[in-house]
Amino acid sequence: MRVLHDIHGGIHPPERKGLSQPGKLASLGLPPRLVIPLRQHLGAPAVPVVAPGDTVLGGQLLAEANGVMSVPVHAPTSGTVRAIESRPIAHASGLEDICIEIETDGLDQWVALTGTPQWQECEPAALAERVRDAGIAGMGGAGFPTAVKLTPGPKRPIELLLINGTECEPYITADDTLMQCFADQLIEGAAILAHILGAGAILIGIEDNKPEAIARVQAAVTKAGASIEVASFPTKYPSGGEKQVIEILTGQQVPSGGIPADIGIVCLNPGTAVAVREAIVDGKPLTHRIVTLTGEALSQPCNTLACLGTPIGYLLQSTGWTSEAQQRVIHGGPMMGFAVSNLAAPITKITNCLLAPTEAELPLPEEPRPCIRCGHCAEACPASLLPQQLYWYARAKDQEQLAEHRLFDCIECGACAYVCPSQIPLVQYYRAAKGQIRDSEQERARSDNSRARFEAREKRVAEEAAAREEKRAARKAAAQQQADNGGVDPVQAAIARAKAKKAQQDAQQ
């Protein structure tokens, strides 16, 4: 039995996970059109390799990775590329981004897939490359390119692979369902990941509000005879944060500004592990994911295995959505998600939940009132920060103090805003402050670069002017010398020539 550690703070919001019946997968059919964004992950958007009018098969490459921090995008089913243009996407900004639209043909024909069931014989580097070619980015919500996580470099030896099946946010049951339905695949995926990382131990952490998932995963481990530890721990939000789950299960803290690999741990979502297994063993790229469709505005909340690029509106209408006045649809969970402004926006690799609450269920936030410095936020903060201080400094845009108070250790879990009696949207202040700081850093780097270029140019211009002046002086000196030596002064000679020519012209006229 593993010794569990507690994290600072945390809250216990109503879980409401039963609503979407975890463990069952509903089939919602194939939408007539898929809208596939080129940026479904953290990093540079993929570059299209198809053109409008092309017919594509399922699993076919649509766009290739652009650099190391990028992953490719594949077609989830067969059809015809109709457009490559800006479309509304599920993003907090409500802005559009470049997407590939596919009209599906309903045949679901696939390219020939070549898997490697004997992955144990493959080089880890080659397998990591295949994970990247399969377009896999972290499926827990951040969308970090998995291949980057799988190549931490020789300076960071990995001892422990941690599969984070916590899923602590209310309503969401996508990972719970995945662990119940694909437990065997999860175990094999974890083994492949450990092989790639050279990790000696595998640990699967699941919160104790998911007893069926724990039992299924435990049974799968026993069946496979794998040396994988399954640990369960008490339910608390936000135990599922990467740094939080590591502290709970190992007692170690990830250094501020560091990554888990710095302490020899790599933490991955179970969905990512299953996707890696499909990519390696079956050769199938990441084209589908499990999405929780929940909220009381849906008459049949469920989990479904949906094609990436399925419009949010299609999924909601397939689950008996009744649109109320002022109805919000939230992408992600109620704590960390954001409201979607356009239902034509598609789901992506990071969409774990779509929440359509009624107004009574999740009331709109009230007007914020002034901070009374009650300190509840500091008690709830899982990163042991001082949220009220960060709030004041974010308002004052005091970047120095924000750094001093470790703003970048904030995981934006929303626990502080949840407990705030004044209903201040604290997390939005932190997100804005982080954005401003990143902006200023970029601008500073830019201006440093401009300064270097400006100074280099000034130096060059001065050198060129000096060189010209020197040449002129040398010529003058040479002419003077020639004149002094009793020869013809070239300057006087030139003047004489010009005069003679002019006289000749005058004579001709």
């Binding site: 993003h91 802005l95 440093d448 270029r453």
Partner: protein, 203 residues
């Protein structure tokens, strides 16, 4: 010598002071030469805060001359590309009151980059000569183009262009540049304290 010093304590004290004074004077004089600071360190720090667009909107031919002028006592609010943020940073550095941007030198605008409409470019190289950061690529009678990552958006290339084929387009467009805005301050202003509420209606 010792005898004389003990006999003439006043002169001895004067001599000691003289000795000490000349000794420390020599030391300070040496230190001033040995540890001489090249240039004006304050102007270096000011220059580090300026946005380096080299646009000349401040009335000086570049950011360094302006930073030297500020070090000499010029106003800190003449830099439109830097805007409020730069004024605040300069005010913090120099410990002076921040002032609003001087409208005479321009207004704060979204960051831009120059963009050459390539079909119209005649290859005259005039913009290349005007660019303070060598961000335009091209040669005589060959089409020119702007290296967007290096362009500061100073607009110095616009005026020399004989065919007017250079546009300034916003630099930060699209989802990659978006970040959450600060929430609007929606607090109701507190006009009176609770115990004073009756006083207001009475008045």
């Amino acid at each position: 010598m010792v005898q004389w010093l003990t006999n003439e304590p006043l002169l001895a004290a004067l001599a000691a002071l003289l000795l000490l004074g000349s000794g420390f004077g020599a030391l300070l004089g040496y230190a001033a030469i040995r540890f001489k600071v090249e240039g004006n360190p304050i102007s270096e720090q000011i220059n580090a805060l300026l946005p380096q667009t080299q646009c000349g909107q401040c009335g000086y031919p570049g950011c360094r001359p302006y930073s030297e002028a500020i070090a000499e006592g010029d106003a800190i609010n003449k830099c439109p590309p830097g805007g409020e943020e730069t004024i605040q940073a300069l005010a913090d550095l120099l410990d002076v009151e921040p002032q609003p941007l001087d409208a005479e030198h321009g207004v704060e605008k979204e960051p831009v980059v120059a963009w050459i409409r390539e079909a119209e470019c005649i290859g005259c190289t005039k913009c290349i000569q005007a660019c303070p950061v060598d961000a335009i690529l091209g040669a005589a009678k060959v089409m020119h183009t702007v290296i967007a990552d290096e362009c500061t958006g100073c607009d110095l290339c616009l005026e020399p262009c004989p065919v007017d084929c250079i546009d300034l387009i916003p630099r930060k467009q699209g989802i990659g540049y978006w970040h959450w805005p600060l929430p609007a301050d929606r607090f109701r202003p507190i006009e009176v304290i609770a115990t004073d509420a009756a006083a207001r209606t009475a008045a």
